[in-house]
């Protein structure tokens, strides 16, 4: 994949009220609910409920008006059937909806109104979630349902993402002779024709450093912030012992990568329909869905097996917050029928 997926310039969202949850595994962090602007708007209460929605599930779950409609409605559409069935359902729903899009065409024609994908700046309404959108080219708009949440906010997911990689930089404060470093240090490689830096490795913590002649250094591979700092200090100490007046200035963590497993399969096609503004899913190119969360500014790679990779964080709490934000959304896409 091209190296650009983790760069994104989007405006920051509003500040939302946060609240503390029970510290898990000795780590305290703040979780925040996803702001309503970043999720599909709640359906108007006056419209009738979908006939296909399993009523037993509706009764079991508490109604909460503060959160946006969860994706339980998406469950109804998970059973994909081509042809007649969806068109019949869709036509009955079309009466209630304001947008009346044409149904499946055997041949695409120019006179069609632009597809639902053409509305920029607005998160997709769950209209697309309940349409069972598969064979019909224009999934009918939904009928809305009473907003529900799969779990109350205070519960949390119970899963803590594990940090897998930390990238940090530090300034050693002096110019360096890379040839001397490569010659005198163990586990150092330097090939100026290929790359203009010495690549050094240490075993504890298991990390790799790129040391440049300007005195700047990049340290990768550590599993925690302290380990990254310790490793960087070790590299700097080695350089100092080789005769350079090295210091340890401006240590900064540039990127943190975490991963976790939600333990259930996820319907990526459904997720990209309802969160099209944030998601990018191209199965021809990459099997995972790339979700660019706005607040916190984290990029998540979500896979069908339930594994989630979170990256782009500067502090650990951003990863935890991002996961707590995405977990309820993912839970809405778990069942097949």
């Amino acid at each position: 994949m091209d190296g650009t997926p983790f760069r994104q310039d989007q405006p920051q969202g509003q500040v939302r009220p946060g609240f503390q949850v029970q510290p898990q595994f000795g780590v305290a962090y703040t979780t925040q609910l996803p702001p309503s602007q970043f999720l599909p708007p709640p359906p108007p209460a006056s419209e009738p409920m979908l006939q296909t929605m399993p009523t037993s599930e509706l009764q079991n779950q508490p109604v909460s008006s503060s959160l946006v409609p969860d994706m339980t409605t998406v469950r109804t559409q998970m059973h994909y059937q081509p042809g007649q069935q969806q068109q019949d359902k869709a036509s009955s729903q079309n009466k209630a909806s304001s947008q009346n899009k044409p149904q499946e065409h055997s041949q695409p024609s120019s006179g069609l109104t632009p597809g639902f994908a053409n509305t920029p700046g607005v998160p997709h309404s769950h209209s697309h979630s309940s349409s069972g959108g598969t064979s019909s080219l224009y999934p009918a708009t939904p009928a809305p349902m009473t907003p529900m949440t799969p779990a109350t906010p205070a519960e949390g997911s119970g899963i803590v993402p594990q940090l897998q990689n930390i990238v940090s930089t530090v300034n050693l404060g002096c110019k360096l002779d890379l040839k001397k470093i490569a010659l005198h240090a163990r586990n150092a490689e330097y090939n100026p024709k290929r790359f203009a830096a010495v690549i050094m490795r240490i075993r504890d913590p298991r990390t790799t450093a790129l040391i440049f002649s300007s005195g700047k250094m990049v340290c990768t591979g550590a599993k925690s912030e302290d380990q990254s700092r310790l490793a960087a200090r070790k590299y700097a100490r080695v350089v100092q012992k080789l005769g350079f007046p090295a210091k340890f200035l401006d240590f900064k963590i540039q990127n943190m990568v975490g991963s976790c497993d939600v333990k259930f399969p996820i319907r990526l096609e459904g997720l990209v329909l309802t969160h099209a503004q944030f998601s990018s899913y191209e199965p021809e190119l990459f099997p995972g869905l790339i979700y660019r969360m706005v607040k916190p500014r984290i990029v998540l790679l979500i896979f069908v097996s339930g594994k989630v990779v979170l990256t782009g964080a500067k502090v650990r709490e951003e990863i935890y917050e991002a996961f707590e934000t995405i977990y309820p959304i993912l839970k809405g896409f778990r069942k097949t029928s």
Binding site: S135, R233, A276, E284
Partner: protein, 429 residues
């Protein structure tokens, strides 16, 4: 000074006549030329195309339509948009105009200004693809790659830039909508009638419901479904045909053949699971090879089989409702989740995991705390090792020097025999 009287004949009938772009004052009676126009003071000849009176280098603009000037690259790109639309058989003028407008906007993006030529070459294709998807055409990225003969990562990078900068949201087509175009693209040696295409579409939907198609390329799944339907059509003759020979008919690449093979295995596994739930099928009767014969039954009762609600249920089976539901949920899992062992879920217990606390100092000065001198030998070579390393490096450097000059000298020596130097030629008397 304007002469009102002809100096030759004295008449006052003087007229101005533009002669070869030069104005001349001529006496109409005798034809005497009184005055010729001058280029310098003629106000009509002052070039001032707009009020600002800027003067730009001539070679960067056209004289008369300065504001409508379109560069050659932009014109070529627009032509390319038209060509690609024609190749995709976009007959609608609206779509073509939209594609051209989008190309015009994308052309001006700063992110695409200073990129490689191959990215700029791909941009018209991206715009046409975006417009087609906005009109819900069942066209996939792989179709565009094949059409444009470009690398997938290059196309995707340009495509992403256009989407993010121009704030467009595009979704991939559903796999069912793509079935007819993929079948057409495969260029099969045999024809599929409508009923068979419907069956293929139903099998693809089944694959979608049972997590086989999620996160995967569309083509291999569709080809696998076509293979199963083709086998069913004449089971007696075709039951021994393997996938490689089938794909040879489609002229697919080896990578695609491997993917098709694994999809066929997965589909057969799913069909086997579903067929074993059919009440009138005996357990020992079906296996992976003959399960294709039961495809019509499986698809007919697909919903019931997937939900797991049997027509004939015992009363006792309702007791453990929750366990059954959980089992049914686990019945169909994505292939990547199926072979999970318990140990894969345990957190990393390596001592360098993120929860292990590590004592670290925050000062800018480095010292013994970071690496004690007693351990420094692990990180820095001894003087003997350094000397040995230097010897090896100098030997290697010498070796390359010896080899290269020899190689370089040999051809030049032979050339010297044949070539005369100019100095030799000049110096010979």
């Amino acid at each position: 000074m304007s002469a009102m009287v002809c100096t030759q004949c004295g008449s006052q009938n003087i007229q101005t006549d533009p002669h070869f772009c030069m104005e001349q004052r001529i006496c109409t009676d005798c034809g005497f030329v009184l005055e010729e126009g001058s280029f310098q003071n003629d106000p009509s000849r002052v070039y001032a195309p707009h009020a600002a009176q800027l003067t730009l280098p001539l070679k960067y603009r056209q004289h008369n339509n300065f504001h409508d000037y379109v560069s050659k690259a932009r014109r070529d790109g627009t032509t390319r948009v038209e060509e690609i639309s024609a190749m995709l058989r976009v007959t609608s003028d609206t779509m073509l105009e939209e594609a051209k407008t989008l190309y015009g906007r994308a052309y001006d993006l700063t992110a695409l200004k200073k990129t490689k030529r191959e990215k700029k070459r791909v941009l018209p294709g991206c715009c046409v693809y975006i417009v087609c998807r906005q009109h819900d055409w069942p066209i996939t990225l792989s179709d565009m790659w094949e059409l444009l003969q470009c690398i997938d990562s290059v196309f995707y990078s340009v495509y992403k830039v256009v989407l993010t900068e121009l704030n467009i949201v595009i979704t991939v087509p559903d796999i069912e909508t793509v079935v007819p175009s993929v079948i057409k693209k495969c260029d099969l040696t045999f024809d599929l009638d409508d009923e068979q295409i419907k069956t293929v579409t139903k099998i693809v939907c089944l694959a979608k419901n049972t997590w086989i198609s999620c996160g995967r390329r569309y083509d291999p799944i569709i080809i696998a479904a076509v293979f199963l339907v083709w086998k069913t059509a004449d089971y007696g003759k075709r039951k021994t045909t393997n996938i490689t020979s089938f794909c040879r008919q489609n002229k697919s690449g080896r990578q695609v053949v491997d993917m098709v093979r694994s999809r066929v295995h997965e589909l057969e596994g799913i069909l086997l699971k579903l067929a074993s739930d059919i009440p009138w099928v005996q357990t020992g009767q079906i296996n992976k090879k003959n399960v294709v014969c039961y495809i019509s039954d499986i698809l007919k009762y697909e919903k019931t089989l997937l939900d797991g609600k049997y027509v004939f249920t015992d009363e006792d089976s309702d007791l453990d409702g929750k366990d059954e539901e959980r089992e049914l949920q686990d019945k169909f899992l994505p292939p990547s989740m199926q072979n999970r062992t318990a140990t894969s879920d345990i957190r990393d217990t390596d001592r360098t995991s993120s929860d292990v606390s590590v004592p670290v100092s925050y000062s800018t000065e480095l010292g013994e705390n970071d690496i004690p001198d007693s351990e420094m030998h692990k990180y820095i070579k001894t003087t003997k090792e350094v000397m040995l390393a230097e010897e090896v490096m100098t030997k290697a450097a010498n070796k390359t020097e010896e080899e290269d000059p020899c190689k370089r000298k040999a051809p030049s020596d032979t050339h010297k025999l044949h070539k005369k130097k100019r100095s030799d030629v000049e110096n010979t008397p």
